[in-house]
């Protein structure tokens, strides 16, 4: 089969004296739905940063879609990054732009600067944006100002932006930590359905373990920058989760 989507070999990331990830090795294959779980500070966001090419490893090798990002020119790296869409906990939308512009921002990797400018005045690709919004269930918000939307709706806009980007893989960094429980289920179900329908790979970091069980097929447990387990969701026992989140490890 083809190359794995992501391949990490003994990757360590340090910020000054602090080690955020140490000797992490893993692979993600096309079509997988992977949950990253672990306490705050375990290195989930750092790992996602490696996967979308915004962080470089201090040691070890990272391959994104078969390429080593540290050896790519900036331009070539951008071409790879276009294939990797990210949804963020805090949405990372521009609050005072219309929804359509935030959705169209997903096209920027393909658009020339002139086209991007023009679209801010006369929105282009309206049908595509409308379709993306319909896919996330807020078709009627195309021309609304983004900051007039609720948190759950804004996260849907962020997902629509990723749909417009049309990447191979979607990364989601705690996508449901800023929305209420009912919205959480909807967002997770939406992500799963979209990945199924458009055959995208999904890597999502989660605090809510129940969604890791219900919406993903594989779980990677991180603690203090190390991979504690990497198993199919069905094989992760409750005791392993408890150990992952325990305040202080006996052998630490």
């Amino acid at each position: 089969m083809a190359d794995p989507i992501f391949e990490l070999h003994k990757v360590t990331v340090r910020y000054g004296a602090f080690t955020a990830l140490s000797e992490v090795s893993l692979q993600v294959a096309a079509g997988e739905r992977v949950a990253l779980i672990g306490p705050s500070g375990a290195g989930k966001s750092t790992l996602l940063g490696l996967l979308n090419g915004s962080l470089a490893p201090s040691e070890g090798q990272v391959r994104l879609l078969g390429h080593d990002p540290t050896r790519l020119s900036t331009r070539a790296l951008r071409r790879i990054q276009r294939q990797i869409g990210t949804v963020y906990q805090q949405f990372h939308l521009v609050p005072n732009l219309s929804v359509i512009h935030n959705v169209n921002a997903g096209h920027l990797g393909r658009w020339s600067l002139a086209r991007a400018m023009l679209s801010l005045i006369v929105p282009l690709e309206r049908q595509g944006a409308a379709r993306a919004l319909a896919n996330v269930g807020i078709a009627d918000k195309l021309y609304a100002r983004t900051d007039t939307l609720s948190g759950g709706q804004q996260q849907r806009v962020a997902i629509a932006r990723v749909l417009a980007q049309d990447p191979v893989v979607i990364l989601a960094d705690e996508p449901i930590s800023s929305v209420d429980p009912e919205r959480s289920r909807e967002i997770m179900t939406l992500l799963r359905e979209l990945c199924d329908r458009f055959s995208k790979t999904l890597v999502v970091s989660l605090h809510a373990i129940e969604y890791a069980y219900s919406h993903c097929e594989r779980m990677i447990g991180l603690r203090a920058g190390r991979v504690v387990f990497d198993l199919p969701a069905g094989q992760v026992a409750p005791g392993m989760i408890e150990a992952l989140y325990r305040i202080r490890d006996a052998d630490a």
Binding site: N52, G53, S54, L55, A56, T74, L77, R78, R79, I80, Q81, R82, Q83, I84, G85, T86, Y88, Q90, H92, L93, V94, P95, N96, L97, S98, H101, N104, A105, G106, L108, G109, W111, S112, L113, A116, M117, L120, I121, R145, D147, T148, V162, Q165, P167
Partner: protein, 561 residues
């Protein structure tokens, strides 16, 4: 006295006193000493300040306020002059915004970082180089630019546009780069991470978010441009400033009041329009000095305002349409920029300037005049600050229940700032002997009008809930004001005052031109006697002074944030 005893004790009891002397206390102490020094330097304590013979003129001047010149011819002239001043301001502002946007992007950290790989670290800081380069045009006042450009390009509206646009452009670039750097970068980062090129990512992820602030500051610059265009008129560019000067010098006070009414109407209308626009944009403070980015008041204002993109584009379209209309009205001759004559004169001036006059005699004179200029600026800002803070309170909409103190304070502040500083200087010279004091007072009165308005807006924009809470607890309004609104706005007011000191230091030059002492007066003499080596050394001294004042102002604002 308190200064010397304090320093003695610092050496004797270092730890205890130093801790009580640091930060705000140190700033307060140094400020008081500096003000005391400045009053002696500008000659406040000398006996012969008032020229008694001038009172008759003052009486005539104020009596003429009741009989303004209202003949049809003169009203037409007034209208034309008003339009000329407005057109200068629009063209100069347009140029400054072009320079400001380009320079602002290039001197912002975020521009350079988004063109670099996020994992690349930050070994060098090219934006600091651009910032440094922009500091030079910024330090030189519009009027000096004007006098220079007149020598090279001849008398043409082009001179006024460039003289306004170049220094304003450099100032705007600095503020724009700060706005861009303080705008949240999450959306930008998200777009860059998804492979968008830097230009497109900035266009979608950063500029829309910074846009209300950029536009709001541009409207504040329009207010400044109107005032500067008036001052440039005083030195010969035409328009209202020039006509005011003519009427004043020929003692036709009735005409002068008509012109001043036009000036006040123009300035007042611009200020009102700018305030309205900024309210709509959700950036009500015209100038944000010392505000922590994303602070509550700012966030609340942004959330309240929901300007539609139609409003924004409409504003842009009107602004863009005004530029060609203004250009047609004043007809600058852009050909002069490339004319061989201009190049010849520029080369000649450059050759004659070098080397600057660094003789011991000249340096001693420069040092003495620099200290006089510094004293003038300190005295001016002390007076402006003291009266500005007091007048600003009634000028804030919510402070007094009765309406008349509000309108009185607002009207007086408008009057103060609408009259250009050189004209104030000439008015003070009616009753005072020439010297640094009338010049300093002129700057004080003009800046008092600007400061008072800035502070009043800060008072209006402060969180009203603490005041309401105290009143609900039974405190009378005045008491509640003293214990909530006033202390909450004092840091911001002081920050404005220190910031405005930088402007005062630059403006000492323009009152120098009407004979009010300091480096400005020397500069005038050197310009009229074609003493270019001396001129260059004076410019260097001015430049150094500006940098010292800016650095001191920034240092003083830090502990009161």
């Amino acid at each position: 006295m308190s200064a010397s005893s304090a320093t003695q004790h610092t050496s004797a009891l270092p730890a205890a006193l130093r801790s009580s002397l640091n930060g705000a206390r140190l700033v307060a102490l140094v400020t008081l000493v500096a003000i005391a020094w400045a009053t002696t330097q500008v000659g406040l304590w000398r006996g012969d300040l008032i020229n008694g013979g001038g009172w008759a003129l003052v009486q005539q001047f104020f009596a003429a306020a009741l009989r303004p010149e209202l003949s049809a011819d003169f009203l037409l002239l007034t209208l034309e002059s008003t339009l000329v001043t407005f057109a200068y301001a629009i063209c100069g502002l347009a140029l400054s915004l072009v320079i400001g946007l380009a320079g602002g992007l290039l001197s912002s950290e975020v521009w350079w970082l988004s063109h670099r790989r996020p994992s690349a670290g930050r070994p060098e800081a090219p934006w600091l180089v651009v910032r440094g380069a922009l500091a030079v045009p910024r330090a030189i006042h519009e009027v000096i630019w004007g006098l220079f450009l007149v020598r090279i390009l001849g008398l043409d509206p082009l001179v006024a546009i460039l003289a306004l646009g170049i220094p304003f452009g450099a100032i705007t670039a600095k503020v724009f780069s700060e706005i861009l750097d303080e705008t949240p970068r999450d959306a930008l980062r998200g777009l860059l991470n998804s492979g968008a090129p830097a230009g497109q990512a900035l266009l979608y992820g950063l500029l829309p978010r910074a846009f209300p602030n950029l536009l709001s500051y541009s409207f504040y610059r329009l207010e400044c441009a109107i005032r500067s265009a008036t001052v440039l008129g005083v030195i010969g560019a035409g328009g209202l400033g020039y006509q005011v000067l003519l009427s004043l010098q020929s003692l036709r006070y009735g005409e002068m009041w008509t012109l001043m009414a036009a000036l006040i109407a123009l300035s007042g209308a611009t200020d009102w329009l700018s305030a309205r626009v900024r309210q709509t944009l959700g950036a009500p403070a015209r100038l944000e000095v010392n505000l922590a980015p994303g602070c509550d008041a700012q966030a609340a204002a942004l959330a309240r305002a929901t300007p539609s993109s139609r409003t924004l584009l409409g504003l842009l379209a009107v602004g863009a349409a005004l530029v060609p209309v203004s250009l047609i009205y004043i007809r600058p001759d852009f050909g002069r920029l490339l004319s061989p004559r201009a190049q010849m004169l520029l080369g000649q001036m450059a050759r004659e300037m070098l080397p600057p006059d660094l003789s011991a005699e000249n340096l001693a004179r420069l040092l003495q005049l620099s200290s006089q200029t510094l004293a003038m600026s300190i005295f001016a800002i002390a007076v402006a600050g003291a009266f500005g803070i007091v007048l600003a309170q009634p000028a804030a909409r919510q402070v007094m229940r009765a309406r008349w103190p509000y309108w009185l304070a607002r009207g007086w502040l408008l009057f103060c700032r609408a009259i250009p500083a050189p004209v104030w200087a000439l008015l003070f010279l009616f009753i005072m002997f020439p010297g640094p004091l009338p010049g300093a007072l002129a700057i004080a009165v003009h800046n008092l009008g600007i400061l008072g308005r800035l502070i009043a807006e800060a008072v209006e924009n402060v969180d009203q809930r603490p005041m309401r809470a105290l009143q609900q607890g039974g405190a009378p309004p005045a008491h509640a004001f003293l214990y909530s609104t006033l202390p909450m706005t004092i840091p911001q007011s002081l920050a404005y005052i220190f910031y405005r000191w930088e402007v005062c230091a630059r403006e000492t030059v323009i009152v120098g031109f009407v004979g009010a002492g300091g480096l400005g007066r020397l500069l005038t003499e050197q310009l009229s006697s074609f003493d270019y080596p001396g001129l260059l050394s004076t410019l260097i001294a001015l430049f150094a002074l500006t940098f010292i004042v800016d650095a001191l102002s920034a240092a003083a604002r830090r502990p009161i944030r």
